[in-house]
Homo-oligomer: 113 residues x 2
């Protein structure tokens, strides 16, 4: 059983860097090797490897090695957990505001004339 | 003009800690003081203040001081930028998969008999 909070910690952390978000966008267009993922970035290879490790640990991407080439792919439903988290907040906040509206409407109705 | 990438870096970083996500949930139910926000957390006050600073810098929450009490509130449309980022990826990925489906369907149709 995975810890949902730890999963979200790792996922939001993985998304908090524009180079890693760029890699996710690249993988959204299809699988890619480390070299292909490193190409648009002006950073050293160890930095690229570190970014890919963070992305893999977050569960957003996975990799397979065939011969000497490691290929990275986007996990199916990669952003589903993030999307669900945002959705739940929006529903809660709408409910809170609806209750407040209802409360204020009732207050107005019962004002003495 | 704000830098969208820097905004997203800060916003995702703010969300990458469960204590900060807990504060966002608390503020979703209404404004709160530092003391109220600190109450459910088993951490020292300087840590609480640091979390609130990260949340304010990300634009997810804002605060006002009245007398000696600082009150924190959720920014309206707090998660809109995150939601938009996820939505855009989902649209792109669906398009990519649709194109692949279309390509594969055409390939099958033109196979030699």
């Amino acid at each position: 059983m995975m810890d949902g909070q730890a999963d979200l910690d790792r996922m939001f952390h993985a998304l908090s860097d524009r180079s890693r978000r760029g890699m996710i966008d690249r993988l959204g267009r299809g699988p890619a090797s480390v070299t292909e993922l490193a190409a648009p970035l002006a950073v050293a290879l160890p930095t690229v490897m570190k970014h890919l490790q963070v992305l893999e640990e977050s569960g957003l991407v996975f990799s397979e090695k065939s011969g000497r080439v490691r290929t990275y792919r986007l996990q199916q439903d990669a952003l589903a957990a993030v999307e669900r988290w945002v959705e739940q907040r929006k529903i809660q906040w709408t409910t809170t505001f609806d209750r407040l509206d209802h409360f204020l409407a009732n207050e107005t109705e019962t004002l003495p004339e």
